[in-house]
């Protein structure tokens, strides 16, 4: 049995903060790291350092990227006349995995949750309006999650877009109410996108 040291405890505590990692798993991983060859463990630690230093949000769409603008925004083959508005970069990743969408994105960085103090000014809504103001956008597809806060966010944005000459649509109900886009498969996302309706 290893003598409990503070650096060991710190590592366990940090691993314990990761999603899906309980105290037991954190300890198991920490023991594993201790037993690893030193260069391997250091590669792990430097790769964590590298993503924190190199990955940031795209200044146009707020996707996660290593280059600004991101690979989607700078891809000449993407259709630049439609923006798919999602809550988080995780949702962009889900749509990209599905391969059903070929336009550009905008990640709001959340949704309106008044109870948690997340009001419209805390989201990247102004930046979305700025992008649209520059012209060239014909359709805005609102793909926030189909729960009450996601619907309210879509409704709020549709009101902000009312004065622009463009089509505002909302993805269909392929995603079950209360379900989350991030965990939807490509068939579901394809149907949701195909079944989008004009926002009234």
């Amino acid at each position: 049995m290893l003598e409990r040291s503070s650096s060991f405890e710190t590592l366990v505590a940090e691993l314990n903060k990761l999603p899906g990692i309980g105290r037991k798993s954190a300890e198991r991983l920490a023991y594993h790291i201790i037993k690893m060859p030193k260069d391997e463990a250091l590669r792990l630690s430097s790769s964590i350092k590298a993503v924190k230093e190199k990955i940031f949000f795209c200044s146009l769409c707020f996707n996660l990227t290593e280059h600004d603008p991101c690979s989607i925004c700078s891809d000449p083959s993407r259709k630049k006349d439609r923006i798919l508005v999602v809550e988080d970069p995780m949702d962009i990743a889900a749509f990209e995995r599905s391969g059903v969408y070929h336009g550009i994105y905008h990640a709001l960085q959340g949704r309106i949750i008044p109870l948690k103090g997340i009001t419209p000014d805390r989201l990247r809504i102004k930046e979305l309006l700025d992008r649209i103001e520059k012209g060239g956008i014909r359709e805005v597809i609102l793909a926030t999650n189909p729960d009450v806060e996601g619907e309210a966010t879509a409704l709020y944005i549709s009101k902000q877009l009312a004065s622009f000459d463009l089509e505002v649509t909302r993805i269909g109900l392929g995603v079950p109410m209360g379900g989350s886009l991030e965990f939807s498969d490509s068939v579901t996302l394809g149907k949701a996108l195909e079944g989008r309706k004009k926002f009234s």
Partner: protein, 245 residues
């Protein structure tokens, strides 16, 4: 460990670990209570689609005596109150109401009267013919049932029922134009409010009808009043005030 067959309203949901949720309910049997719902954010798990904020849900759960976290076994939506998704004023008002509940209710305390008020409030706000002018009664009533009723009938200094347009936070009562002190703890109150209330806040549902242009002032007043009483910020207040303007 006992199994309960209950119902409740979803107050808030917080993501937990990769795909789970911690859901705070206002239940009929146990009042405010937190639930762990494992794995439910995955779209294929049916239970996830039954836990939308502010919805009314039939719930079956395990709860150990003295435990703060119940384990959710099954959940079925009774009412999603769909109009909250189609009207930002309704969404904002319900957010404000549930935040007041969340702050004002002590955990694990059964409140049958507040449960039925909440049920009536949501049924009313979901009706197509609902008007925002009916909101003040519910907010004064919920404040009262939580033990924070503002006294609005007469000036607490001289007793007059004329010119009541201010409220003294320390006294928890309104004060007339002549008696009010110049202090940041004396806040403005919509003029019509005191005369509308006359008989106190326990009138029948919705009988206080403030003109709609007084609603932003009313919610400003309720926010300041309750924040002072709770000693806590009500985060959804400003969003509601802008939606009412």
């Amino acid at each position: 460990m006992s199994l309960f067959n209950d119902e409740g309203f979803v107050i808030t949901r917080s993501e937990w670990k990769e795909s789970s949720l911690i859901v705070r309910f206002f239940t009929r049997e146990h009042g405010k209570l937190n639930f762990m719902a494992k794995g439910i954010r995955r779209a294929k798990t049916r239970i996830g689609s039954f836990l939308d904020s502010f919805s009314r849900v039939k719930i079956i759960y395990y709860l150990k005596q003295g435990n703060d976290l119940a384990s959710l076994k099954e959940a079925f939506t009774i009412n999603l109150y769909p109009s909250l998704r189609a009207d930002l004023r309704r969404f904002a008002a319900v957010s404000f109401y549930f935040e007041i509940l969340d702050i004002g209710l002590a955990p694990h305390e059964r409140h049958e009267d507040i449960f039925s008020l909440t049920s009536e409030f949501l049924d009313t706000i979901d009706k197509p013919e609902w008007v925002a002018e009916s909101l003040p009664w519910y907010f004064l009533e919920i404040a009262g049932r939580l033990g924070y009723a503002p006294r609005l009938e007469k000036c607490f200094v001289c007793g007059t029922s004329q010119n009541l347009a201010h409220f003294d936070l320390d006294a928890g009562q309104c004060v007339c134009q002549n008696c009010r002190k110049d202090s940041e703890k004396v806040i403005p109150m919509p003029q019509y409010l005191a005369s509308e209330i006359k008989g106190g806040v326990s009138n029948e549902g919705g009988s206080i009808a403030l003109p709609s242009h007084a609603l932003p002032d009313f919610f400003h007043f309720m926010k300041d009043f309750l924040e002072y009483r709770f000693e806590k910020r009500i985060k959804s207040g400003d969003f509601l005030i802008t939606q009412m303007a």
